[in-house]
Symmetry: C2
Subunit: 209 residues, 2 copies
Amino acid sequence: MEGSLMPQGKPETVPQDGLTTRQRRNRPLTMVHTGPMKGKSTAAFGMALRAWNAGMSVGVFQFVKSAKWRVGEESAFAALNTVYETTGQGAPVRWHKMGEGWSWIQRPGHEADHAADAQEGWRQIQRDLAAETYRFYVLDEFTYPMKWGWVDVNEVVHTLENRPGAQHVVITGRDAAPALLEHADLVTEMTKVKHPMDAGQKGQRGIEW
Amino acid sequence: MEGSLMPQGKPETVPQDGLTTRQRRNRPLTMVHTGPMKGKSTAAFGMALRAWNAGMSVGVFQFVKSAKWRVGEESAFAALNTVYETTGQGAPVRWHKMGEGWSWIQRPGHEADHAADAQEGWRQIQRDLAAETYRFYVLDEFTYPMKWGWVDVNEVVHTLENRPGAQHVVITGRDAAPALLEHADLVTEMTKVKHPMDAGQKGQRGIEW
């Protein structure tokens, strides 16, 4: 019985959108994790873990400058990709990071150009969405290239609104643009109540990275 | 160079606690994810994923009534435990859930007694903390048995304050008690800004569970 697998929450209203319950249930979701606290990406990778288990292919795009960040998650998801390849459990995972240059562009001998890199990454995401390459996308820290004007937020919203199929997208980062929040189905704000760094605590491997 | 692996954040103050930087860095952390929004457990499992990759053994204790919840996470972490057992990458993961009866108690023929189950679960956690069974504990929805008076919050704080070694503990759930928040090193509140269930959207496999 599928009903018995449903979580506790129930819709408060039934929308007049002409969709069946099944259509609504399989609707692609845009999710944004924003706010000043650190759990934004962590929660996004927790969602990716659940998606992986449900057999959804996962594409991660890291819009950060340092390839050293999220090494823990990258390594764990590489292990999960191997689980999929060897046992069939879960789904494929592909991991792209801007810090090392996107894997699909080669510009030997050129200076780093973060704005161009971010734009190239976004173009690849557009191609992947058009081709329905993945079922679940993590666009990690993607709010920043939008904030800095490297990627046009209205183009992002337009692309997301018109993407085919049932591809879920979660976007993380501070200062998400109002147009993106307006488009999103789910917005979670992580608020810092108390953090060990306030008390002079340094980051720890396995906790902070 | 360990320094090059450090994340962006830097302590704002250096505490006068007589500890060396190394001691402070390896200090056991108590983390609480609370607030009305759903990402609390998801972020905790995202942290567990990172801990697993850093070679920390993970113990999960689910204080929920239904064994159907978090099936995605449980299955994914079972796969990660298998990765550890077959390749040595990561660390062992053990998963305990109250809904099916704790694995260490057998009471055939007895009625369910959630208060007694919660108390038994907490006693096991106390034994595991004393024995340093795990390096990273997820006490999922553990705020509720405290809220309902099944487990004494002052006893929990006392146990956590006096635990040996460098065992990290993350506790999730709404309405965390003030005494627990006072003890915690890190408190994150997940705030709902926008949720698809508000618009009549039903839960989806791979997204909600």
